[in-house]
């Protein structure tokens, strides 16, 4: 099936099998590797993108469902959020980072001053195996302060 979508502002078109997931379309068919693939089951959040503004695990979305959608990856995410991750020491191997950056940007757009519980709940779908999350929580607060 033909799928047309916008990824990080660029028009893309691909012919995909109906069983293809959005993450497979982006990474394997279109070569867009700013979306990562960690588990294929919606557990790790590495493939988090926004689809028409709403965050989702791209591995759980059929590619055909993204036909006509505006998909954004961390490449075009807020520089403030990204730099906050660097300044807080929240990046180690970095494989989870693009998904987290998308998640945190979405959180702070919806809730500019989230409670601690709101932050932890928002990030609970993103697995980081390196940092133990403490510096990621610091990065969220840094980004919150810089955005307000």
């Amino acid at each position: 099936m033909i799928v047309r979508l916008t990824v990080d502002g660029s028009e893309r078109i691909a012919d995909v099998d109906p069983a293809t997931s959005l993450v497979a379309l982006l990474r394997d068919a279109l070569g867009i590797t700013s979306v990562k693939n960690g588990c294929e089951q919606g557990e790790c959040g590495s493939c988090t993108v926004t689809i028409d503004g709403a965050p989702a695990c791209a591995c759980l979305i059929p590619a055909v469902q993204a036909d006509g959608a505006d998909v954004r990856t961390a490449t075009h995410a807020s520089a403030v959020v990204r730099e906050s991750f660097l300044d807080a020491g929240a990046v180690q191997c970095g494989y989870c980072t693009p998904g987290l950056v998308v998640t945190v940007e979405d959180l702070l757009e919806r809730d500019p001053h989230p409670s601690e519980h709101a932050v932890r709940e928002a990030l609970s779908g993103n697995i980081c195996r390196c940092t133990g999350y403490r510096k990621i929580l610091d990065a969220v607060r840094l980004a919150e302060a810089r955005l307000s």
């Binding site: 099998d17 990474r27 394997d28 070569g31 590797t33 700013s34 979306v35 990562k36 693939n37 960690g38 588990c39 294929e40 089951q41 557990e43 790790c44 590495s46 990856t73 961390a74 490449t75 995410a77 990204r82 730099e83 991750f85 660097l86 300044d87 020491g89 990046v91 180690q92 191997c93 970095g94 494989y95 989870c96 980072t97 693009p98 950056v101 519980h117 932890r120 709940e121 990030l123 609970s124 779908g125 993103n126 697995i127 980081c128 195996r129 390196c130 940092t131 133990g132 999350y133 403490r134 510096k135 990621i136 929580l137």
Partner: protein, 767 residues
């Protein structure tokens, strides 16, 4: 490829930005599984569904007929050596006659598309004759057990005999049986890379790994190529924690690339990743201490069995760590340790953060608490009376010569403020065990505190000539002098490259530093990124090279007008020795210590736990990058929390039941509490800036501290990790195994390397 320019900040001792951080935040940083090349094929692996079986026949006719298939290879097609292995070459590149674990590679396919490759894989017909799997480590030692390898099931045995255990007189004896489960490293980035055939008949491999030169040492013979025709370059590494010490897709992709003459990419998904790398050894440990009434340890005895699974990986070295650290960081004059690692048909086990030490730390700290209870001494006081100090003698006879600030580590951990009390009722739902989904609101919640003390070697042991090489070049750039660093060392996320840049900035006074891509080409081995060793080893090599560059610059009067300066240096640590027949020797070069304190809330009705806080005090020698060192402690502690409470690969008759992130749980942000970290800085002689590695020790000590707190809360012995709700409620049989002989003699043959007449390390076992 280009290097990464550092921002002008961060010298030794200052928190520095990650040198490779910016492209990681945008997703542009390329990991092994992100790579591609023009005209590349996709490679996939057929794996055995049986943990033990004979292969009667492999029919590839239908698979080869799938449109787009370019190559399909089985074990008969391997042109060179048929086996590989990190320490012992015992694992088939592709199984031919038998499979020894579920997930063992049997055939590989390269095709134009991933879909075609997978379609072909499904059409390969393998006639297996399934055999009863040997799925228990004790059963592997039993007389008459099926022999999984020609030399038997005992992969290695370590015997340590110190003082005179049989003559030791104690007022009190305590003993316990302990078990730990199979933990997975679960790096978020799965295995992946690309092999590209070269014009010289060789191959260029770009892969996420941990030790480029030893990958090449294993890859080249299997391809039938000399080493100089195999070039390995590091791709981005999405975490490792030991899982990438062994070869995964490197040989397979290279075989397919050389066969087809085209680049071949292989990228594992999560399920294949669980089958495609080794895990933390499950352990069964029996330990006893003898002490005086005043609480002075006079004797200790340990029996350790590790399940090595189907192939050797780094099991022989893991056993050494487990055996030499088995009785804890305590002065004990009379010690006997019998450590054994066996082959089974379970998934192969090898390196994971801590390397045998977390298992024994869990045991010795549990038993120390039990001894303290019997003697009516506080657990910390008992430890204070027995901890090693400078000049203490370990069970191996090794005299502690390095920095040994164990008392200070323990004192400072005890002194850290406890988290504030919380009301038992009226908290936010998030702040109860079980979190927002829990049903209790404060009923039956009990708070408790536990301590643990642990230790672990830094860098390689047992006489291995451990070294790392670095080349540093100082040249004149458009905006000032630029230093570039070439090594083959792997940064898999822990932050080595940032540390190397900090060293160059400090020593050469430059702002701009370029860390060149790690490769086997043009630079010597850096050794593995493991054993908490790279800040010492490659940090040491870069420091020495920088000093040489500095000396040359000074000789030139500080002027680079005559051209750039390049110096190459190799760093070796203080040499160690092998064991003698009594397990005595100067085995480890440097040892680090840590104390953790865990505060937990336990719902005594539901068996649900909330870890409230971990306080971690680490002996680190000298902190090079504070934010990075804290990150190591926090991340390592989180992995320790996983081992303590949730992480376990469950096998049933050798078959993995939970190879996914849905069924294998790792800690999320909801599970990891605030972690209070402090460092004790006492310089280690002979190490650059006096450093000690920090990577592994948090994972060694945290599980023992959490278990201690849970015992305190529940009053239950909790002798098995991970500790589940059923354990906290007393609904599951504990690890206590009274049928085990208390002082066993290990049956079976001599350890494999001796049996085969070989020394440990990179030897082909059976030629």
């Amino acid at each position: 490829m280009t290097g990464t320019t550092v921002r002008p900040r961060g010298r030794v001792g200052e928190s520095a930005h990650r040198i490779d951080g910016a492209p990681k935040t945008t997703g542009e940083y390329l990991y092994g599984g992100d790579l591609s090349a023009p005209g590349m094929l996709w490679g996939v692996t057929l794996r055995s569904p049986h943990p033990s079986a004979r292969i009667r026949r492999i029919d590839t006719t239908r698979a080869r007929a799938v449109p787009g298939v370019r190559a399909l290879l089985t074990g008969d097609d391997v042109p060179g050596r048929k086996t590989y292995g990190l320490e012992i070459s015992d694992q088939p590149v592709l199984a031919t006659e038998v499979v020894r674990y579920e997930g063992e590679a049997v055939a590989i396919v390269a095709a134009d598309t991933l879909a075609a490759a997978r379609e072909a894989l499904a059409l390969v017909e393998v006639a297996y004759e399934p055999l009863e799997p040997l799925d228990d480590m004790e059963a592997a030692l039993a007389p008459g057990a099926p022999q999984l390898h020609p030399f038997g099931n005992v992969l290695r045995h370590v015997h340590i005999d110190h003082g005179d255990l049989d003559a030791a007189v104690a007022d009190v004896w305590v003993e316990g049986h302990y078990e730990t489960g199979m933990q997975d490293q679960a790096p978020v980035g799965c295995e992946g890379g690309i092999a590209i055939p070269a014009a010289d008949g060789g191959v260029d491999i770009y892969v996420a790994t941990q030790w480029l030169h030893v990958d090449r040492q294993q890859i080249a013979p299997c391809l039938g190529l000399p080493e100089d025709k195999v070039r390995v370059t590091l791709a981005g590494v999405g975490g490792a924690f030991g899982s990438r010490e062994d070869v995964s897709m490197q040989i397979h992709a290279s075989l397919l690339a050389l066969k087809t003459g085209l680049p071949v990419k292989m990228a594992y998904g999560r399920e294949e990743s669980f089958h495609g790398h080794v895990h933390r050894h499950p352990a069964r440990i029996w330990l006893r201490y003898g002490a005086t009434r005043e609480g002075t340890l006079v004797a200790a005895e340990a029996r350790i069995v590790l399940d090595g699974g189907a192939y050797a990986s780094s099991s022989p070295a893991v056993l050494v760590t487990a055996s030499t650290f088995a009785v804890g960081p305590y002065d004990v004059p009379n010690v006997r340790v019998e450590g054994t690692v066996v082959y089974t048909n379970n998934p192969p086990c090898g390196a994971m953060r801590g390397f045998g030490a977390p298992q024994v730390c869990f045991a010795h700290e549990a038993l120390m608490d039990e001894l303290a209870a019997q003697l009516c001494i506080s657990p910390i006081e008992l430890r204070m009376r027995n901890v090693v100090g400078p000049g203490s003698v370990l069970p191996t006879g090794q005299v502690l010569q390095g920095s040994t600030p164990v008392r200070e580590v323990l004192e400072r951990c005890r002194a850290l403020p406890l988290p504030p009390r919380e009301p038992s009722r009226g908290r936010d739902a998030f702040d109860y065990p079980g979190g927002a989904t829990g049903v209790n609101r404060g009923e039956h919640v009990r708070r408790a505190v536990g301590f643990a003390l642990g230790f672990k070697n830094v860098a390689y042991s047992e006489g291995f000539d451990d070294a790392s090489e670095a080349t540093v070049t100082l040249s004149q750039g458009p905006e000032g002098p630029v230093a570039s660093i070439l090594t083959s060392a792997v940064d898999y996320g822990q932050g080595l490259y940032t540390v190397l840049a900090q060293i160059a900035r400090t020593e050469l006074g430059v702002e701009e530093v370029v860390v060149l891509p790690a490769t086997t080409d043009g630079v010597g081995s850096a050794g593995s990124t493991s054993a908490s060793r790279q800040t010492t080893m490659t940090g040491g090599a870069v420091l020495e090279a920088c000093k040489a560059v500095r000396a040359e610059l000074d000789a030139r009067g500080g002027d680079l007008a005559a051209g750039s300066i390049t110096c190459t240096r190799e760093f070796h640590h203080r040499p160690t020795t092998q064991f003698d027949e009594h397990g005595q020797g100067d085995i480890h070069t440097s040892i680090a210590f840590a104390a953790h304190r865990a505060v937990v809330d336990v719902d005594m009705e539901l068996g649900v736990t909330r870890v409230v806080q971990i306080a971690a005090v680490h002996d680190i020698g000298h902190v090079v990058n504070p934010v990075g060192a804290e990150g190591q402690v926090e991340g390592g502690t989180a992995q320790g929390l996983g081992l303590a409470l949730m992480e376990e690969i469950v096998t049933e008759h050798g078959v993995m039941k939970n190879p996914s992130f849905t069924d294998y749980l790792v800690p999320t942000v909801l599970d990891v509490p605030p972690i209070v970290t402090e460092f004790v800085e006492v310089a280690e002689k002979g190490a650059p800036y006096g450093v000690k590695g920090i990577g592994e020790l948090p994972t060694v000590v945290a599980p023992a501290a959490i278990a201690a707190a849970l015992r305190q809360a529940t009053g239950r012995p909790l002798r098995r990790l991970p500790i589940r709700a059923d354990d906290l409620l007393g609904l599951r049989e504990d690890a206590q195994r009274p049928e085990w002989a208390p002082v066993p003699h290990v049956p079976g043959q001599q350890p494999v390397p001796e049996y085969a007449g070989l020394e440990l390390g990179q030897q082909e076992l059976m030629s």
